[in-house]
Amino acid sequence: MARIIVVTSGKGGVGKTTTSAAIAMGLAKKGHKTAVIDFDVGLRNLDLILGCERRVVYDFINVINGEASLNQALIRDKNCNQLYILPASQTRDKDALSLEGVGKVLDELSKDFDYIVCDSPAGIEKGANLAMYYADDAFVVTNPEISSVRDSDRMLGILSSKSRRAEKSEEPIKEYLLLTRYDADRVKSGEMLGLDDVQEILSLELLGIIPESKSVLSASNAGIPVILDEKSEAGQAYADVVDRYLGETRPHRFIDPKKGFLSRLFGGRK
């Protein structure tokens, strides 16, 4: 049985798709057979981030409607043969998704995958609800700003009440916090919420802090998940996230501002 992970946030533009691509790649690189599904029907993006947009023939909706088999629609990643992508349909909308249809596809995938990563669309409407409904774990992607935190809080309420696990009174979805686009310098100068401020409101298990990094945008443009850029801080942070999720202990990095040349020379005096 596969473990189903939903990457969700409520708010848009916080880095859900970047995170989905990175952690799916990270899990696959560790040797786990992983599928990543784009639930953002009508605003297909995941295939771009993973650089497979030119190989999309069939999509998630075709599989739900029985117009294509799962094997026909799944795209094997060219960087890692353990990673498969199920793209969204660009010509349809979220109404094409159905609870039974999604359940059927996830059941079938569960048979021979270890992890299924569901890239949720923004919002709290049908697409987002279906992406999280069958989840076992939730990665709540939050930016250190008040509206993102508020939306994540709302999403956490939905996760704890509208999922399959909640409806069947099973063990609740395990919720993790992923703080993205974190700028330690701006936190220090008080322009941005810090980790403590966010945790005061959300109080979740922290899976990782992804620092704001130029490499994220260039990786997206190149269609290569940022986790493969091992030199970048964001790539390293995502690698830590995957390790922590798999149960390894990794100290949290990138919380404090980088020391400048002079302070490195003379030691961090406060």
């Binding site: 508020r150 809080d153 709302r154 956490l156 309420g157 939905i158 704890s160 009440s161 509208k162 909640a166 009174s169 005061e200 409101i201 109080s203």
Partner: protein, 255 residues
Amino acid sequence: MLNTSPVLEFKSSTFFAPILILCSHDLVAIEEALQEKIRLAPEFFRDSPLIIDFRELNKLHLDLDFAQIVQLLRRVGFFPVGIRGGNELQNKQARELWIPIDTVRELGGTITIGETAKPEPSQPAAPQPAAVAPREPQPSIAPPAAPAPATLITHPIRSGQRIYATGDLIIMSQVSAGAEIMAEGNIHVYNTLRGRALAGVHGNTDARIFCFDLQAELISIAGDYKTSEDLNKQKYTHPVQIYLQNHALIIKEIA
């Protein structure tokens, strides 16, 4: 124009009113049964408001003149204040007598609305309030409600969630901004309260709110409220209790 005090004020409140479920159209039998009930509890029924429920009667296709039953009820000392489940003719008659139609809404036990945050499974479900009379062949009226058990919640109440408790509400975790907690009794929050908290929602002016860290958006007891604009004038560093005194909310730190 110096005197600017308002002429009137609207307030929302909830009252207890028995519902009379009619299962027979025999006016003589009804009157006898009512007299019997009143003899058993004269104080309870004295000048009591009453809502007349025609659903059973209409299910049995028994015809009853609304004006006649109202006359009968007034004669034995009730004040009919509402009708529900009436047919077209009965509703028309009710309107002519200025008696409101189908305005009675029922509240279930522990109601959670929207994304329901479930009460702890170990807690027994709150019983139905006594608003609904048992369906016996004789007209009957439920006894006053026993106090509802407290609802205990140990997980965080997230933004957008609403919790309703028929008795006291005890929350061990935080209540987020944008969340709403309501109780007919007292509210205890053993953590930070950032959302809205409404105690004594059925008009219990003795209800209180207790919380460890008051950062609420709104607090209300029995309909009297304060918003964060008023609340934030003072910073509370200790746990507080909030109660009602002469329609004013008093916030006091618990030393």
